[in-house]
């Protein structure tokens, strides 16, 4: 075969020589990459449009993404781009071992990427953090490890039982979520004032009933690192780190711990208008798998004492501006950041599923491209082992590396746009 002037038997006859074939291939792959950019462009346009119109969705929902995982994947992909480029150089220099090594490392990196992606996706699947219709609106803010995530909403899976006894229905235990209006609040005090107790209940499930064998109270509240609540910091033992809390449950009361729209009205559930602020308990304690099926968390809250009857609606307000500077309550204007913080702690805004739709569409399509890249590199690996690539003929390696770079580049856009936003 080498008798043929072009040096490699892979030079197709309708080309003049190796260079002609390589140049044509190079132009072809660049056009293909332009096509790829346009293919993704619609998703980027969708991202931009929805973000312009609904920034609150993005600032709320991005917290469900794990920056650590995303960062690992970014690093892995960038490194694999290096090895892909290195493979081209090895092919050009006839270094077969180096070429094979580089391709193997590239494939391994790509598989690592997909592995991490699988972990992220499966976690979201279990938590119901999904797109479109499959989005579970009963999602708590503040992190995926909170058990209240799967609180007892109608139609949702039960892992936490909520008990609440209010004034009107004292004696009856209601389970589920509670609307804020059921809790009498001292208007001068911020936050929820319900008195709650949380117990770990061991037992077995007999049909629909729960037969309790033992019950352990959980007296601790969570350390500040977990929630960043400065006022509760003093009450907590310093030793309770986040890791420890994972083993030893902790809890706190919060307004709007979860969003449990009235799922009996599907229209409202979909539009989000049924999502009302609620009160409840946030419990931090392993997940269902870790805890085991014989353990349940039972939270009971008493309503706080009723606030003094507001006979005079201006009782807590300055009667007039003329009473002097001292009587005017300074109003704290919230910064945008604080607004976002407050939003983030509250109910998901309407159509939060759109963030996830875009997240899954973009990362999903990107993942398909990574899978395709793995296939291509496996094919190149086989050909490299057979020794097909020489300094005359390394086009496929070069083109695959270019493809791999654009896959990498798209991820480099996706990572900040999805994971790192505020």
């Amino acid at each position: 075969m080498s008798a043929h002037g072009t040096g490699s038997r892979f030079i197709q006859h309708h080309y003049d020589d190796a260079k002609h074939q390589f140049d044509a291939g190079k132009l072809g792959i660049w056009l293909f990459l332009a096509q790829e950019v346009l293919f993704f462009s619609a998703l980027f346009v969708a991202y931009i449009l929805y973000r312009i119109h609904h920034p609150e969705i993005y600032s709320y929902a991005h917290k469900w993404l794990d920056v650590k995982m995303g960062a690992i994947n970014t690093a892995v992909l960038i490194f694999s781009s290096l090895t892909a480029a290195w493979a081209v150089r090895c092919a050009q220099k006839n270094q077969r071992a180096g070429l094979i090594g580089c391709i193997v490392v590239t494939i391994l990196c790509a598989c690592t990427f997909m592995g991490v992606k699988y972990k992220e996706y499966s976690h979201k699947y279990h938590e119901g953090i999904l797109f479109g219709r499959y989005f579970d609106p009963c999602i708590s803010p503040g992190g995926t490890e909170l058990l209240t995530k799967k609180n007892e909403c109608p139609g949702s899976k039960t892992t936490v039982e909520w008990d609440f006894i209010d004034d009107e229905t004292r004696g009856k235990i209601k389970s589920g979520c509670f609307e804020e209006k059921l809790v009498d609040q001292d208007p001068k005090t911020e936050g929820v004032q319900a008195r709650c107790t949380v117990t770990i209940s061991k037992g077995t499930k007999k049909g629909a009933d729960w037969v309790e064998t033992s019950s352990t109270p959980v007296p601790l509240q969570c350390p500040e690192e977990m929630f960043g609540e400065a006022e509760s910091a003093s009450e907590m033992p310093a030793a309770k780190t986040a890791e420890a809390a994972h083993k030893f449950p902790c809890w706190r009361t919060a307004s709007q711990p979860a969003v449990c729209p009235d799922l009996t009205k599907p229209d409202e559930a979909i539009s989000g208008s049924a999502a009302r602020p609620q009160v409840g308990v946030l419990v931090e304690f392993g997940d269902e798998v870790e805890r085991g099926e014989d353990t349940r968390i039972i939270a009971k809250c008493d309503a706080p004492p009723k606030a003094p009857d507001a006979g005079d609606i201006f009782a807590d307000k300055p009667t007039s501006l003329a009473t002097g500077k001292g009587t005017i309550h300074p109003v704290h204007e919230m910064t945008t950041h604080e607004e976002h913080e407050r939003e983030a702690a509250g109910a998901p805004p309407a159509h939060t599923n759109m963030f996830l739709s875009i997240y899954f569409a973009m990362t999903g399509l990107h993942g398909v491209h990574v899978l395709f890249g793995i296939g291509v590199f496996i094919w190149l690996l086989i050909r490299s082992i057979k020794g097909h690539f020489t300094e005359d003929y390394f086009g496929p390696i070069d083109f695959a590396a270019l493809y791999w770079h654009i896959v990498d580049l798209i991820w480099i856009f996706l990572f900040p746009l999805l994971y790192l936003i505020h």
């Binding site: 008798a3 043929h4 002037g5 072009t6 038997r9 030079i11 197709q12 006859h13 309708h14 003049d16 020589d17 002609h20 140049d23 044509a24 132009l27 072809g28 056009l31 293909f32 332009a34 096509q35 790829e36 346009l38 293919f39 993704f40 462009s41 619609a42 998703l43 346009v45 969708a46 449009l49 929805y50 609904h54 797109f131 479109g132 219709r133 499959y134 979909i270 309407a350 159509h351 599923n353 759109m354 739709s357 875009i358 899954f360 569409a361 399509l365």
Partner: protein, 632 residues
């Protein structure tokens, strides 16, 4: 010119591309087609697929027109009617008009016009064809799977709700999109990398300029259609919500995405038609094309403008007023390059020696129909007028004048023009002229009344109508049948020419571009000896030897091509057979020539390339790369 013309009879020693496998068992011959990497065979497979789709789409059109003969139910009910016009639109747009000129005729002719042995990526070319076939199959399968009643535009949210087989159809459209992308990519690379030395950008035939402009749009616009129908499909089975207002999505975003592709797609349909018309008008007027550079630039500028005007399909979809005005203004700019072309064609005709052959009849029809179609487009680009005319028969008539009256007519013209070249057979000229006239009158009878009833308020896509429109509908239906019969007859006599047509000469029309120097039908690598570059669109040195027989002095004429005579072929050492996946590189004796860095003698590049392709005798030809300079 002054000397007596002398014809050299050089028999073509290689078999033509159609008869390479003659005499072989049926299985080999079938494989020779199904797995061929030869651009001409792939193009012919496209062509027959497209003609089949044309008959299917035409049948749906006639069913639609028959139903509209009278108000109320004539032959079918509303739901069936919805499926008829949807499938007519989808089949005609995605299966016929978009691939018609670029993928079928472009594939067959473009590399020969470039003097190239093949397209840049033959395997990709074949896979484009199979993607097209799979997409076409899925689109047609949507009929038994419940039909499709969304209109070819697949607008959300209706396409999310309907019970018909949207998913099957969108999968088909997705595959067809990638077929189109890969074809465009292939064409771009071929034009960039396979231009012979000596053929600069402004020595390219205008057909190639048009295919180039088309390919730009195919590569840059079609991916957006791909992702759009992909999202629509995911929406159908996974309810991802991006276009679904119930989940917070935006159905108008679908329209933006759809038209971001589909407006360029309209130009993907028309620009190759314009390229073909430039060739036809110049050849049959025996005159150089007037304003070559302007026609070339206008193709590319149309391609670029096509990306900026999609919003004019959405004037009443709730765009902002500013966006409407911007899109309206940009729409008018499209008129400029289109008018440049029309004026240049007319100027070419002026004082030309016009030959009214069948292709030229189609070209003249095109001129008139495209002018009507283009100008009515400007009416629709005016905001206030569009509010009145939107979604009426006026729009239907307008885009049929462009998509059918222009593109399909140009496709037919091109088909008749190059048919002798790639089949080696002449069709029946008088039938050709009759049918061309029938197409012209049938077409106008179908669609001129639609302008009137559209302007009077008849909405498009309606199954029932007010009796005041009946006369227009009936005229339109009569016209449609005239058109249908003419088209059907055309397909029939073209097919019949395979058996009954007389053998075509090398250059039946006296064309000046390179494909007319190739044997008829071309050999495997298109030329048996390297072609000679003459000045493009210069007809002075072409001599009319007889009816449908032209040539230049000293050019070989086509000897009897072994079209139907299998046995003779074997004598030639055929080293590479098309249809076998891995082509064996030619083992030529003149190894030194191939070895080492080439390019010492740049003008000889085309020669060398083709010599390799010709591969039989290294010493067969003493070609000249340019007219005057002899090759060393």
């Amino acid at each position: 010119m002054a000397t007596t013309p002398q014809r050299i009879h050089t028999p073509v020693t290689e078999p033509d591309f159609l008869s390479i496998h003659n005499g072989k068992p049926f299985g080999t011959r079938l494989k020779g087609w199904l797995f061929t990497l030869d651009h001409k065979r792939i193009g012919m497979m496209y062509l027959f697929g497209i003609l089949g789709a044309l008959l299917l789409g035409g049948a749906f059109a006639l069913l639609v027109r028959t139903e509209l003969w009278a108000p109320g139910k004539t032959i079918v009910g509303q739901d069936t009617y919805n499926q008829f016009f949807t499938l007519h639109g989808a089949v005609m747009v995605f299966l016929v008009i978009i691939p018609g000129i670029p993928a079928a005729l472009g594939n067959i002719i473009m590399p020969i016009q470039l003097g190239a042995p093949d397209v840049a990526f033959p395997k990709l070319n074949l896979s484009s064809f199979y993607l097209w076939s799979a997409g076409a199959l899925l689109l047609v399968l949507s009929i038994p799977f419940g039909g499709l009643d969304t209109g070819w535009t697949l607008y959300t949210p209706y396409s999310l709700k309907t019970q018909t087989a949207v998913l099957v159809a969108t999968s088909g459209v997705f595959l067809l999109g990638f077929s189109s992308i890969f074809t465009g990519l292939n064409m771009l690379v071929t034009i960039h990398k396979f231009r012979p030395q000596g053929m600069g950008w402004f020595q390219l035939p205008l057909n190639i300029w048009a295919i180039y402009a088309t390919a730009i749009m195919q590569v840059l616009a079609t991916p957006v259609l791909g992702i759009t129908v992909l999202l629509l499909s995911v929406e159908r089975f996974a309810h991802i919500g991006i276009f679904d207002p119930n989940l917070g999505g935006d159905p108008v975003l679908f329209q933006h995405f759809f038209w971001f592709y589909s407006h360029p797609a309209v130009y993907i349909m028309i620009i190759p038609a314009m390229g073909v018309i430039s060739e036809l008008i110049s050849t049959f007027s025996r005159k150089p094309l007037f304003g070559y550079r302007f026609v070339a630039y206008s193709s590319v500028s149309l391609a670029l403008l096509s990306f900026l005007v999609w919003g004019h399909h959405m004037f009443v979809s709730g765009q902002s007023r500013l966006a409407n005005m911007v899109f309206s203004a940009l729409t008018f700019t499209v008129g400029i390059p289109s008018a440049i072309k029309v004026f240049n064609w007319v100027a070419t005709l002026y004082k030309g020696d016009i030959r009214l052959k069948t292709p030229m009849l189609y070209a003249l029809s095109f001129l008139l129909l495209f002018t009507i179609g283009g100008l009515t487009g400007l009416f629709l680009g005016i905001l206030a007028v569009d509010v009145h005319l939107h979604d009426t028969y006026f729009v239907v008539a307008h885009f049929h004048y462009v998509m059918m009256g222009s593109t399909l007519v140009a496709f037919l013209g091109a088909l008749h023009y190059w048919w002798p070249k790639f089949t080696g057979r002449m069709y029946n000229e008088s039938l050709g002229r009759i049918c061309a006239t029938g197409v012209f009158f049938g077409f106008n009878l179908t669609f001129l009344p639609q302008f009137v009833m559209g302007a009077r308020g008849m909405p498009r896509r309606y199954w029932d109508y007010d009796p005041q429109y009946q006369i227009f509908h009936q005229l339109s239906t009569i016209g449609a049948f005239v058109l249908g019969i003419s088209l059907f007859t055309s397909v029939m006599y073209l097919m019949a020419s395979f058996w009954t047509g007389k053998k075509a000469t090398r250059n039946p029309w006296g064309g000046s571009s390179l494909e007319w120097q190739a044997p008829t039908p071309p050999t495997l690598y298109n030329f048996e000896k390297p072609p000679v570059l003459h000045e493009l669109y210069n007809y002075d040195d072409l001599i009319e030897y007889g009816e449908d027989d032209w040539g230049r002095e000293g050019e070989g004429i086509t000897e009897v091509t072994p079209h139907a005579t299998p046995a003779k072929v074997v004598a030639t050492p055929v080293k590479a057979e098309p249809g076998i996946a891995e082509r064996v590189p030619p083992k030529t004796e003149d190894a030194p020539k191939d070895q080492g860095p080439k390019a010492e003698e740049p003008p000889a590049k085309v020669v060398e390339k083709l010599e390799k392709a010709a591969e039989a005798e290294a010493d067969a030809a003493k070609p000249i790369a340019k007219d005057e300079e002899p090759k060393s």
